[in-house]
């Protein structure tokens, strides 16, 4: 009997297991997007799906998506972009973790969450040959995936390192790294100097403002996302499935689980 109850508890908890790891959720998606996990084949990404460390997300032409991470960080991708969640860990109890997002190609707007607030050194981005440290909260990054990278900062400050040059970019300003050189200026000046495809990517990110605001940037997710019910992942051991006696009493259905 004791064994049976343990098995039932395990199976009930398994239904929520996937929700407990640190992750991001697709909160908005227009057009098409795919996600590739490790060696698995790419699969269609849909609104509400989860993305975890190691996943590579890509948007199709004319598409865009918004990802919200557990700590409240938001990453929005414009059309024909590809980004890898190289590292993402978040401990909701201590409100600490680390983020490393690698923009392979395309445009991304990044708004930091609790990790960026509490441990700004632990939030970093890569784009082509550049690395970007976040010392603030909100900015756009665009890359051609080869050797051109632009950064424009909306709030806070970014640290932009490109081909050995490191510049601090405060809010309202930007930088463009190309052919081994970094040019700086106001965000508008940088925008005006960018190649058309970069300008289109930034324009696409501008169009995501409503979806980004709807995602609640900076606000950590209240709990694991929903499967099944509304668990509280801030309290270990408090992950009881909701919804009455269903799974709690018989997670496998079809009569008592047995070991035959």
């Amino acid at each position: 009997m004791k064994k049976l109850s343990v098995l039932l508890a395990v199976m009930a908890l398994f239904f929520v297991d996937a929700a407990l790891a640190a992750s991001a959720t697709v909160t908005s998606l227009t057009g098409t997007a795919q996600v590739q996990s490790g060696s698995a084949a790419p699969r269609t990404l849909r609104q509400g799906d989860e993305v975890v460390q190691g996943d590579t997300v890509s948007t199709g032409p004319g598409s865009a998506l918004v990802l919200k991470f557990d700590d409240g960080q938001v990453a929005a991708l414009s059309a024909s972009s590809r980004m890898q969640v190289t590292a993402y860990a978040f401990n909701p109890q201590t409100r600490t973790g680390n983020v490393l997002l690698s923009l392979v190609v395309g445009g991304m707007r990044a708004i930091t969450g609790l990790i960026g607030h509490n441990q700004p050194n632990n939030v970093n981005f890569r784009a082509a040959t550049a690395t970007i440290g976040i010392r603030g909260s909100d900015g756009d990054i665009v890359t051609d995936g080869v050797n051109k990278v632009s950064v424009t900062v909306r709030e806070g400050e970014f640290t932009f390192t490109y081909e050995g040059h490191t510049v601090n970019i405060p809010a309202g300003r930007g930088a463009f790294g190309a052919d081994g050189k970094v040019s700086e200026g106001t965000a508008q000046q940088i925008f005006n100097s960018l190649p058309p495809e970069f300008q289109r990517a930034i324009g696409g990110l501008e169009g995501l403002t409503a979806a980004i605001n709807a995602a609640g940037p900076g606000i950590p997710r209240p709990g694991p996302p929903n499967l099944p019910g509304n668990q509280d992942n801030t309290t270990p051991g408090n992950n009881q499935p909701s919804g009455g006696g269903g799974v709690g009493t018989n997670p496998l259905g079809g009569g008592p689980a047995s070991n035959q």
Partner: protein
Amino acid sequence: MPRAARLAVVLPALALLAALALATERLGRANGIVYAAAREMATWSASGAEPGERTVAWVRGDLERAAALTPADPTLEEMLGRLALRHPERAEYADAAVAHFTRAIELRPTSPYTWASVAEAKYRKGDTGQSFEAALRRAAQLGPSEAEVQLTVADYGLAIWDEAAPQTRRAVETMVTSAMKRDPAATLQVAERRGRLAVACRHLVDAPRRADPRGLQLCGSRETLS
């Protein structure tokens, strides 16, 4: 009774008893193995901590040993499937999860939870074709009143809502209706995450706890109440 006749009765009886004893011993050994593995897996879920590869390996090894001792145990197949789903990033594990849940279905075809697990494994593998939709419909058909099945079918069904066949949509909506009656807050949360609040909100009027402020806020603010 002549001795030969007595032997004809006693020997098969002894053989039967020996076989039963052997089966019981194997079952006992399997149970002992599963108990430790299940406890370990429960700690992962309860703590939210990701186990190390070595830990996962020994749990998988134990479950496979238990499965070898009791090869017709659908619970073990489910557990192996759940274990494989922990690593959907590895193609071989995604395939293994589907295979274990399919085997569990063969052993226990009337479990709505197992059908829901088949649907989940296929979705996470990226297979949202006819067999995925069939698994969703079967789960809905077999477990119309099971809370977790309702939410699982609602979750993955709403995820593919635009692409779903009419009969799948009907099955999903039936489960959404039931889930809204049982737990409108959780159901609305799933629907909101999937961007399908309208499907859930049109059943808010049927929900006994429809006065829940969060539900009214979600549905009312988006003018999705029918």
